[in-house]
Structures are given as C-alpha cells and as structure tokens.
Symmetry: C2
Subunit: 396 residues, 2 copies
C-alpha cells in the first residue's frame, strides 16, 4: 500500500444538463472557425443535433467539413481519412458528435493531422501506439450522445488496426483529453435499447475492472466505484423501460466519465482483465464492446473465484453494489454476487448471454487468446492462454 | 429536476502518494525559474518540505523569494505583501506549501500580482470579489500539508477584509484553480490533533452542505458524497489515534478535494448554509474554520428538522453515512442522524462542542447574523437574522 503513487488529471471542461449545447459556439470559437465535424449520421439527425450545429455554424461564419464514416469499432483508415480532411482544409478544431467510437476516432484524427505522411499506415499505427513522439493535437470538442465509454472525459482511444487485427489503446495520453464535452441527457433518448444496455454494461465494467482488481486501503475510491455501479444497477433498467426518463439518463450519462477518468483508480493497480480478453474479440468480430464484456464477466468471476483475494473482494462487491446480506458467509455472498451480475446483465439489461447469440464462433479463439494472454501478467488473477480459451468456451 | 444545468472543470494536475514531491521540479520549471514560496513556517520545517524544496531549487538554478506571514484566516494585507514580492521580482510562479490558508492566500497573490496599484486596498478587494476584470493569474503549484479545505483542487479562496470584517469567496473562478497539486499523505503526519479534527470536519461539512441542500434525482452524486462522508467517519478517529497511519491519511487527503471541486454538486442547488453562518464568525474571531462549522452543524440540523424535506434527507444521510437501521421510522432515523453527527464531531473527533469553548462570546452575534442573513435566501432552509442568532445562542 505505501509504495504507490497516483496521478490524476482531467482538464476537460464539462457542460452538462438539458440545453447544454448553448455552450457549443463559444467552445468552438475559442479555437478558430474551421471545424471538422466527425459524427454518426443516424444519431446526429435523430437527435436534431446535426441541424442545431449546422444552423449555429451558418449563422456565425463557421466553416465546417463533415466525416461520418466511422465504424462502430473505429479503424485506422477512418483516422487517416479524417486527418486528411484536417490537413487539406487547415482545420482549427475537431467536433465529435456521437458515442465512444466517434470520439475515439476523433482523438486519432486530432493527432494524425500532425503526422507527416498519412499514406504510411504502419508508421502511423506505431506512432499512435507509442505516443512518445506526439507533441500536439488539434483541439477537440465533444457532443456526447451515449452513456458508455466515458471517452468524453478520458485521454484514451481504442482504434483497430484492420491489417493486423490489433485493437488497443492507441492514441492515448494527456494530449487526447477532450477540451470541452457537452453532456445533454436528452441526446441519449434515441439510443437503441441494445446499445443502451451495452453502454450501461460498459460503464459498470470500466468501474469493476478497477474496483475488483487488487489494491487495499482504497476505501474512498471503493465508495466512489460502488456509487457508479449502483447507479448502473438502478437506472439501466429504467432507461430501457422508459427511454425518456431524464433522471435515469442524467445519472447514467454523468456516471460514464467517472468510471474511466481516474477517479476510481487512484492508489491501486488495475489490470483490466475483461478488456484484455474482450479487445481481441472486437478485433475479429464486429460485436458491441459492452455486450462482449458483459458476456465474459460472470464466467470470468466464476473461473477465478477462490484465487487470490477474490472471495473477499467479490463479497464486498455483492454487499455494497447488489445489497446482498452482509451476514451470510463470505463464500456464499461471493457466489450470489456472481449470480446477481449475470442476472443484471442478461435479465435486467436483456443483454444476449452467449457469444454465439451475438454471432461469434470459436473460429479465432486461439489467436484471440494468444493476443489477450500477452497482457495477462497484469490481470487481477493472471491467466494462461489455455485458461482464456476455456473462459471463451464457457461463454459460447 | 429537468431545468438544471451544471458545469464541471478541474484542470489541476494531481501527483499523489508517498514521494510525489519528485514531481515538483518539472512542475515549477514548465513556468519559469523565479518562484514566490508562500508557506507556513512550522509545517514546512516540521515536515522537511522546506529543506527539500530549497535543496532542489539550489541544485537547479531556481531563484526564490519567501513569504511566511499568512494568518490562519488569511487577510488581504498578506495578499498585498505577497503580490508586491511578485511584482518586485518578476516572479514566474507561486509555490504554496501548506493548508487552506496558505493556498487561499496564494490564490489572492497570483491575481493581485497583476493589479495595477497595490496601495489601493478597497479597490483591490472589490476587484477580487467581483472577479470580472481578472484576466490572468500567475501559475500556482501547491504542496498540500493538510486534509481539509480542498483548496488544492478548487477555484475558490476565502480572504478576510480586515477593514470591514468581511470574509468570503473573493478571488474565485477558473483562473484560480491550482495548476499542479502535490499530495503526499506523509506530509500530513505532523498536523496537530485539533487541526486534524477540524480538517476532517471541514471535508465532511463541505460535502454535507451540498448533499443535504436540496436537489432530487441526484442518486449518483449522492453516492459520491456519502463515500466521502463515510471516509471521514472511518478515518478521522484513526488519524487522531495513530497519526502516522498512511491509509487513513491517504484516504482523508484524497477525500478533501472531491468534497469541494464540484464532483458532488452536479445537478443540484447548494446554499452552503453552515458556511454562510460560519464565515462571519471567522471574520470577528480567529477561530478554526472546521471547529466553527462542526459546532454549528448539529444545532442547525435540530433547528430545521421538520422544515422542507429535511426529515427525508436527514434519514437518507443517517442510513448511508452512519449506518442507522433503515427500517426505523424516518423521523427517528433523522433524530439519530443528528445525534450521530454530534457524537462524531464532539466525541470521536474531540472537537470542542461550544462556541465559548473556542473563546467566542455573544458580543458580535448581531453583526454576524446580519451578515449571514444577507445570503440566507440561498440556504437549504431559509433563515432570518433572528433565527440565525437563535442558532448561534444554542451553540454558546
């Protein structure tokens, strides 16, 4: 405990609440008047954001270029196409309108706009993954339309190398923190139910990855983490049943960034086990990130129960997140916590409960597990490639 | 609920944990090599920070000037004296070493260094209080030696106008957020017990001021607030009994900024009732801020119990902060919560329980209450001047 240090840095300026988009124009104008707008076309139109933004830009002499070709799991080619638009038009600021995919892609773009040769795919990938030679990025303003990845207040981006099937935290660091993020809960009303559920699972698991992953003496940040997870448990099902429930949407949207921005991390190690196993899945199959995580989590918990301090930690989680009776034996609480996790994801949030239900087969288990195993020395409970394959199989 | 908006902005870079002072030199050097060091002499020497800093500066060609005349409740004359040193020596960056008083005073200094005529006391006071003409401030690096006000990650400063006995949030806003804060829990080991206790009460009451003060649908941030208050309840007594308990010191030190930096505020009004009543006390008597707040809180709670939604809110607080049985009647839980609050402050933290015990008389109750009543329309439960006097009397 005594040896750790921690950093915390989140300079993103947040404007939250209904009507927060009124802060868009000054947020843009502080950086200039040439904007690359990166967006998901369906969402931007369904929410009315597109029209609002374009009207605002027209009325105020802002020039803009549009890029709406970001895949659900963004690939490096999108980063290159967006960055080319920035270079060609001397863009001052990137405006991301969307959820994690659009924001992550925009983070890649804001850096790649400074990369000398955008035809050098492999060079750009290595440059982004290392980050050490990235000296500046374009300003980034975000209008967030999903409660999910927390990318709106975080310095990470997950981009796929479509040549090598690598998926990972490329383009990350302080230079990638958005400058401004606008969080209007009403903009999340039109998110399709399966994405609402996957988003809630993503928030929950961002938090649990850190919370469950070792560390002791972290009473304060454990409390923060439990508050986020309880918020998911309380409001996830409400947002599904009543999509325009403002209170549910606001609490979920504000929970998302705190799950990832470092609040729950200070003072502990964090191995990101489930992300380590899920990212290779996303690199081979176009699945929804939060669904993949949710399918893995209860099987993984069951697999590692009894190893390290898992019984004690899962019991704390069961009591403080799901309200399981603290007077039961620890082992029983831990088992009930695993069941409650599965019930939350697969019944309450109606997330498909198996990999086959989301269109996956065992075809790439070997490669995926090999990829995941490379980082598994950092896992909460370290896993071999064979063990990872076994967990994948239990999820089929 | 649906009409609110909120902002959140905390760009302070935090380096936390044992040995975090290793980040001092680059934190300073990014701004220049001429430093005004504002510090509490006792603390800076008792902790060894003074020697460490001076050795580091000598070895790296950093020039520094020293200002160690900050009162426990900092007054404007200190702001002026510090700012004069900055002007005379073309200082690049202010380094604050201390707790809330030193940090708040340094915030005044970083702005006043740009005020044209430091002999214009009244003009400077008005300029700081309004803030609208403050366009720039000197960079501010903090080495925090107390878990208390949270000024190390907040844009506010409380300065006293010794001419008019006004105490308030002068010199506040985004330009006053520290650029870097270094939080080494070991630097808080030597804080005298009465200041440890007052600091814990300050953290607790910063949180409760927001938490108890109205708002609904704030489940997530209520959870954050409860985690901070539980941390005070758990670790305050441990830090008193075992001053070098790292875990207690770390949790308390990291709780302090989150109690004040906006985390627990998003989406609610916040009337800061106890601060409204305490600041006039501090302007007339050199009392310890957290002691004054703690003495007021249980009397104030008892006085307003039954008005507005206090029963329901105090009951939630009793259950989630003090673990009172949720199955009892709401009124009974609320009453027990008030008792638990008094027990926490006056028994567990050993804070003097009356105003007379900290040297106050009723001499200035009229003026103090008149001052407090000016802002009381914002209070959780609005109070007249006479009601405020009545509460003061119950605290005598």
């Amino acid at each position: 405990m005594r040896t750790y240090q921690y950093n915390y840095y989140t300079p993103t300026k947040i404007f939250g609440g209904e009507g927060a988009i009124e802060h868009l124009l000054p947020s843009i104008q502080q950086y200039g008047n040439k904007v690359l707008m990166v967006f998901d076309s369906n969402t931007a139109h369904a929410t009315g954001i597109y029209d609002t933004v374009v009207d605002t830009f027209k009325a105020n002499g802002i020039q803009w270029w549009e890029y709406d070709k970001v895949d659900p799991n963004p690939r490096l080619y999108s980063v290159i196409e967006g960055a080319q638009l920035c270079k060609d038009n001397d863009v001052d600021v990137v405006l991301a309108i969307g959820g994690g995919s659009v924001i992550d892609c925009s983070k890649g773009i804001r850096a790649a706009a400074f990369y000398p040769d955008l035809s050098d795919y492999d060079g750009l990938w290595a440059w982004g993954a290392s980050g050490k030679d990235i000296k500046e990025t374009l300003p980034l303003v975000v209008i967030c339309t999903m409660a999910s990845t927390g990318s709106e207040m975080d310095g990470g981006a997950v981009i796929i190398n479509e040549h090598t099937h690598q998926k990972g935290g490329s383009f990350h660091g302080d230079l990638f923190l958005p400058n401004v993020s606008i969080l209007d809960p009403c903009f999340t009303y039109s998110v399709p139910p399966r994405h609402v559920a996957a988003g809630v699972a993503d928030i929950f698991i961002h938090t649990s990855e850190t919370y469950l992953d070792g560390g002791d003496g972290t009473y304060l940040v454990d409390g923060f983490a439990e508050a986020i997870m309880r918020t998911c448990v309380k409001y996830g099902p409400i947002a599904l049943a009543d999509p325009k429930n403002f209170e549910a949407r606001q609490n979920l949207q504000w929970a998302a960034p705190w799950a990832i921005n470092g609040l729950v991390r200070a003072g502990r190690t964090s191995g990101w086990t489930l992300h380590g196993m899920q990212h290779p899945m996303g690199a081979y199959h176009d699945i929804i990130h939060g669904q993949g995580l949710a399918i893995l989590m209860p099987r993984w918990m069951k697999y590692i129960l009894g190893k390290g301090n898992t019984v004690e930690k899962f019991a704390q989680y069961g009591v403080n997140v799901f309200g399981i009776d603290a007077n039961l034996p620890q082992q029983e609480i831990a088992e009930k916590a695993i069941d409650a996790t599965a019930d939350f994801f697969f019944n309450k949030l109606q997330i498909p409960s198996t990999l086959s239900a989301i269109g996956m087969t065992d075809e790439h288990f070997e490669e995926m597990a090999a990829d995941a195993a490379r980082g598994s020395f950092m896992f909460y409970v370290p896993l071999t490639k064979e063990e990872i394959i076994e967990i994948y199989k239990q999820c089929l």
